[in-house]
């Protein structure tokens, strides 16, 4: 069957999206992440109310759960790529779409299509809750708020894509999960303390600058744009690496 190139890409993308939305675990993960994020937002808001309130504080309170929320998006990314390998699904996939590069890229694109709205809803709901609860009387600059929300959404999407790329490299759910969670929650926080010199070049610490508020008392080493750049660079490198390997490797 001969199909035009653009039609082919659309077909692959819709197939990947179809596979993704019919994966029950994706919905469990997203719902779970949403609920946990709200619970954490409640917790952080009640802690935050004990301290002094301010415009930036309110946004920070709403985003304080980001550290935990990223776990949900790591799982999302891993599930996307590793679910192909739990059964023989990968062989069916490659039989019907024998263009590996397109197929894996389309998978990342499909993941981004799902992750972006999900991340935005979760981040916005956390900030909204903090806003409603603290009843911040100060006028919030819509501009800053939107920038922060977009940055946080971008960070979560990027994390998710990075996890998917690493998932495609290693192909087994549990080891990938262990490596990524271990990195994001144990190694990286410790590395921040012990190796302050090189801490800004890692994907999560650089991505941190994408959504953190620019407060005057802290020295911001990276601008949001630099943070986005470094984070994106990591994600792209891993995606390219996984695509290259995917094309070479026996399925």
């Amino acid at each position: 069957m001969s199909v035009s190139s653009s039609k082919k890409i659309t077909l692959i993308l819709s197939a990947e999206l179809g596979k993704l939305v019919t994966l029950p675990w994706i919905w469990f993960t997203l719902t779970g992440a949403f609920i946990i994020n709200l619970v954490l937002a409640v917790a952080f808001t009640s802690i935050g109310q004990q301290g002094a309130a301010g415009t930036q504080r309110m946004v920070d309170t709403g985003l304080a759960s980001m550290g935990y929320l990223q776990a949900g998006f790591i799982i999302l990314g891993i599930l996307t790529t590793c679910s192909e390998y739990t059964g023989g699904q990968i062989r069916t996939t490659l039989t019907v779409t024998p263009w590996r590069g397109f197929q894996l890229s389309a998978k990342h694109l499909a993941l981004a299509i799902i992750a972006i709205p999900a991340a935005f809803i979760m981040v916005a709901s956390g900030v909204l809750y903090a806003f409603v609860m603290t009843r911040d009387t100060k006028v919030i600059e819509m501009n800053t708020l939107i920038k922060t929300l977009v940055g946080a959404t971008g960070y979560l999407t990027m994390t998710s894509l990075l996890s998917a790329a690493i998932g495609a490299l290693i192909r087994r759910t549990t080891p990938v999960l262990v490596i990524l969670l271990g990195y994001y929650f144990v190694v990286s926080p410790l590395a921040r303390n012990y190796l302050p010199g090189i801490k800004h070049v890692f994907p999560d610490t650089a991505g941190y600058y994408m959504y953190r508020s620019l407060s005057s008392d802290e020295i911001n080493v990276l601008t949001p744009m630099q943070g986005t750049g470094i984070s994106m660079l990591w994600t792209l490198i891993f995606i390219i690496f996984s695509v290259v390997l995917y094309r070479k490797r026996d399925a």
């Binding site: 009640s46 776990a71 059964g87 969670l181 410790l190």
Partner: protein, 249 residues
């Protein structure tokens, strides 16, 4: 006993087990080494405040290894094999061979206990010389009671992972929850800022067995008891669920 041997051999032949053993054995030493280096700088500067914790902090984070071990031990049984090899679950075979479900669960818990105890000993054996090598004469004396506390902490954490995974049948959720919870940004620390009852959470209570932090609440013995109570209750729930659940469900 034969069920126990079987569980032991199943556990040690799992595909992901190398990762658990590797992290469990070496992560404490690596964390302890990094912490020792920072401490050494502090000692030279004369600002060291928490010398007594050096090394133990590694054992606190190194517990990740046994979390993986516990979660893998159970989730591997429920992993559905690919349709090309029948699409079965190992659990069906395990329960056909050992017909008592309680025995299967106990043997599994026993195997995990033994492996995590051994792993913790190996970790301590690697970690202690590392600290001594870096800190030299400043290295804290490692008391047996505290090391034993760390050993109990590892075993209980592994058993929590087992009990939790029996309930969920899938390794992803227990791994995510327990690994995040044993890291720096744990949920328990967060909760302890809201309510003082959080000191009775298993990991907060358990860590009192060997860490003497400023916000310590329990004595080591009570801490151990609280954590053991959690493990015990979780295991009773897990046993009831496991006993009543359809194998294939």
């Amino acid at each position: 006993m034969r069920a126990f041997n079987a569980e032991l051999s199943k556990l040690l032949s799992l595909p992901g087990i190398w990762l658990a053993l590797f992290i469990g054995a070496f992560a404490p030493a690596v964390f302890a080494a990094l912490d020792s280096l920072t401490q050494k700088a502090d000692i030279i500067a004369g600002t060291s405040t928490r010398l007594a914790e050096v090394g133990y902090i590694g054992l606190g984070f190194g517990v990740q290894g046994v979390i993986i071990l516990g979660a893998l031990a159970v989730s591997s049984e429920y992993l559905t094999e690919s349709s090309e090899s029948g699409g079965g679950q190992q659990m069906t075979t395990s329960l056909s061979v050992v017909s008592s479900r309680l025995y299967v669960l106990l043997a599994k818990a026993g195997a995990v206990t033994v492996i995590s105890a051994l792993l913790c000993m190996i970790a301590i054996i690697i970690m202690v010389p590392t600290t001594h090598l870096i800190l030299d004469e400043y290295a804290p004396a490692f008391e047996w009671s505290r090391l034993f506390g760390a050993l109990c902490y590892w075993i209980f954490t592994a058993l929590l992972a087992v009990g939790f995974t029996v309930l969920t049948k899938n390794g992803v959720i227990p791994l995510a929850v327990l690994m995040i919870n044993s890291s720096i940004v744990s949920f328990s620390v967060l909760l302890s800022k809201i309510t003082t009852l959080a000191v009775y959470l298993p990991d907060r209570a358990g860590i009192d067995m060997f860490m003497s932090m400023s916000d310590r609440f329990h004595t080591p013995f009570i801490g151990g008891l609280v954590m053991f109570a959690w493990v015990f209750v979780l295991f009773i729930i897990a046993a009831i669920v496991f006993y009543r659940r359809d194998v294939a469900a």
